[in-house]
């Protein structure tokens, strides 16, 4: 099975020094992000105590929640050694679909709009998945194409029209602004989604297939895993999740036009990779990706407080992404010999 550092905790059962090493390194990654978070928050808070004020933290958590939810789907796709560049466009078009629904049916039952968002996202995810698996073409090219195709459809549909906050009922925008015991609803939704996804990715056989495919697609096929069906499922899930995220996005930002969510794909991929999901597939966790999203959003907010122009946030996200993949490469170069020793002594 997978011998990559980050998934070593699940695939290595036993004893030995190398196991302890792998375990420590795995924990190190998620602990490392938490540590980085603590440092960023502390330094910024010393500079300006308003940074840890209630409203500031709530805003931070809500913004990170959207990216974290998107990161769940992207994590699944990247684990299968694919990539989905179209999620920003899917988020945009499903947010617009939800907005238009409210314009035409102001009294629609709120859960319905989430179903609409999900359905729109699922439809595009299915298209991505079908093209990738049926024609056996690289997902990079397919989703680069659908990134612009979906955005174009959105533009054609919306034209210059914008669904404003006045069209959205308070019951809906409350989801974006409301809190329970000081924690925003969006934060709770993201935490719940990450918890469910974490459990599913550890326990379900289908989810373990994702890891197997990403570790070695040929071996997975020989092992009897229906590779095409699983990859298709990964894209469908990613689309559906981006669709639901679109509904949440609208509840947070309160208005939507044809460019909603533009460029989100790069933020999400940065979060996922910083969170320890290997870009070569086969390893990583949803929890790590969500922590990565939280870290990137915290840095964004910290920049504003520290009076660094927020224009630099995208440069920092890119630099962190590169640092993360470089770090992973160096780490796996270190750990590979240790794991090899383990296998040879056992077998």
């Amino acid at each position: 099975m997978s011998v990559r550092a980050e998934s070593a905790h699940v695939s290595i059962d036993g004893r030995g020094r190398s196991h302890a090493l792998a375990e420590a390194l795995f924990r190190f990654r998620e602990l490392g992000i938490v540590l980085a978070l603590v440092i960023v928050v502390t330094v910024t808070a010393i500079h300006n105590t308003n940074f840890v004020s209630k409203t500031s933290l709530q805003q931070l958590l809500s913004g990170a929640a959207i990216i974290a939810i998107l990161a769940i789907g992207e994590t699944i796709v990247i684990i299968t050694r694919n990539v989905d560049l179209s999620i920003g466009s899917i988020l945009g078009i499903s947010a617009y679909a939800v907005g238009v629904t409210f314009e035409n049916h102001p009294h629609v039952w709120i859960p319905w709009v989430f179903v609409i968002g999900l359905a729109v996202g699922l439809a595009f995810g299915v298209v991505n998945g079908l093209i990738v698996t049926l024609f056996r073409v690289p997902s990079l090219v397919v989703t680069l194409g659908t990134l612009y195709i979906i955005r174009g459809i959105d533009g054609r549909w919306a034209g210059g029209h914008q669904v404003g906050a006045s069209a959205l009922p308070d019951r809906f925008t409350n989801i974006g602004y409301g809190t329970v015991l000081g924690v925003p609803y969006l934060g709770i939704a993201a935490i719940a989604a990450v918890a469910v996804a974490t459990y599913a990715m550890r326990s379900f056989r289908t989810a373990r297939d994702f890891y197997a495919i990403g570790s070695n697609p040929d071996a997975a096929r020989l092992a009897g895993i229906p590779v095409e069906r699983r990859v298709f499922l990964a894209f469908a899930l990613s689309g559906a999740i981006a669709g639901v995220a679109g509904a949440f996005w609208l509840s947070l930002y309160g208005s939507v036009d044809a460019i909603a969510g533009q460029g989100y794909e790069f933020q999400v991929i940065a979060a996922v990779v910083v969170g320890g999901v290997a870009i070569f597939g086969g390893s990583g966790t949803v929890l790590g990706a969500a922590l990565g999203a939280l870290l990137l959003n915290t840095i964004d907010s910290a920049l504003i407080v520290l009076n660094v122009s927020s224009a630099w946030s995208s440069a920092i996200a890119g630099a962190l992404l590169l640092a993360a993949i470089a770090f992973d490469r160096l780490l796996s170069a270190r750990i590979a010999p240790a794991l090899r020793t383990r296998r040879s002594t056992r077998g």
């Binding site: 024609f135 056996r136 659908t146 195709i149 044809a258 440069a315 160096l330």
Partner: protein
């Protein structure tokens, strides 16, 4: 040999048909489509993406990808604008833009060849990084860059013709790239790397060195396109050339270069440049908005990787159908 060339010839024949179809469509969209003034605009619009497609062709032939070309264009344009604004001459500003492009390309190359990182992840990262640096330097403002007569090369044709300077540069570069790729040892090495990296290494080809310099070249020419882009609009902005990677990648793959590496021709890429240039201008003259044009370009991108795979799909489907039929016959025989 003739057998091996046949699929390529067919692909390029298809491109010529597509080009003719696009011209017919353009002619229907506007009666001025084939006038000399319009041809100037067709070539002007496609100049920068055409130049950036050439080094990307070589990179894709080696089996790698570079998504950061549009971001390098933007960054080097911003650097050029800043230098110009701070009183350095136009020539120094252009040199600065070229240097930034080369350094950005070298950084890509170092990460990919020295650390062995996947080019897809690296160039998604540097796409965000370079565009982010450009945004950090020049968040919202626009810098005017204009110093006639030199800066006119962005907007006027070569004297006595209707050919814009950017396209003339592309034509010269295309000949050089074509010769290098198809008629020199270096070109054979590039194909060999794409066909099988390990085998190429054992054959004594310095895989990492070739790839590194291809990325430097890609960065350098993207910086050059940053200059052309800045001169064409007489201004530098951080978001210049945002999303151009779609067009550049589409040109390369539509040109018949295999995304898996090892196959492709410069002539195919030149034809794809013409198809895309005509298509873009024709759609603009048919009053199709840029966003809707992206639907067509995106579909073209997906089709150019799907179409070469169709025979394989047909083969698999036929195999499956046969096994189903065989099973049915077997069960019928068993029942009888």
């Amino acid at each position: 040999m003739a057998d091996r060339l046949r699929p390529l010839l067919r692909w390029e024949a298809g491109l010529i048909l597509l080009l003719i179809g696009t011209i017919v469509y353009g002619n229907n969209a506007s009666q001025y489509f084939l006038t000399s003034g319009n041809v100037f605009f067709i070539l002007l619009n496609v100049g920068e993406v055409a130049i950036m497609a050439l080094p990307l062709t070589l990179i894709v032939v080696t089996g790698e990808i570079d998504l950061s070309v549009g971001a390098i264009l933007g960054l080097s344009g911003v650097v050029m604008g800043e230098l110009f604004m701070h009183g350095h001459g136009l020539w120094w500003s252009m040199a600065g833009a070229l240097a930034v492009g080369a350094v950005a390309g070298a950084f890509n190359g170092l990460l990919i060849t020295r650390l062995g990182l996947p080019s897809l992840a690296v160039t998604i990262g540097t796409l965000t990084l370079y565009r982010g640096i450009a945004q950090g330097i020049l968040p919202t403002a626009t810098i005017q860059v204009s110093k006639p007569p030199y800066s006119d090369i962005g907007v006027i044709p070569i004297r006595g013709t209707q050919i814009p300077w950017s396209f003339a540069f592309f034509a010269v570069l295309a000949v050089i790239f074509g010769v290098v790729l198809h008629a020199t040892p270096l070109g054979r090495r590039i194909f060999a790397i794409g066909a099988g990296q390990e085998a190429a290494r054992f054959a004594g080809i310095r895989v990492r060195r070739v790839k590194f310099w291809l990325y430097v070249l890609s960065g350098l020419l993207s910086g050059f396109c940053g200059i052309l882009f800045t001169l064409r609009f007489s201004s530098a902005r951080y978001d210049s050339g945002i999303g151009l990677e779609l067009f550049v990648v589409t040109i390369v793959l539509l040109g018949g270069v295999s995304i898996f590496g090892g196959r492709g021709t410069i002539i195919g890429v030149v034809l794809a440049v013409l198809v895309l240039g005509c298509l873009q201008t024709a759609m603009t003259q048919a009053l199709i908005s840029p966003q809707e044009q992206n639907i067509v370009i995106g579909a073209l991108l997906i089709l150019s990787v799907v179409v070469p795979n169709l025979p394989g799909i047909y083969g698999r489907a036929r195999l499956r159908w046969r096994s189903i039929m065989a099973r049915r016959h077997a069960s019928e025989a068993a029942e009888a």
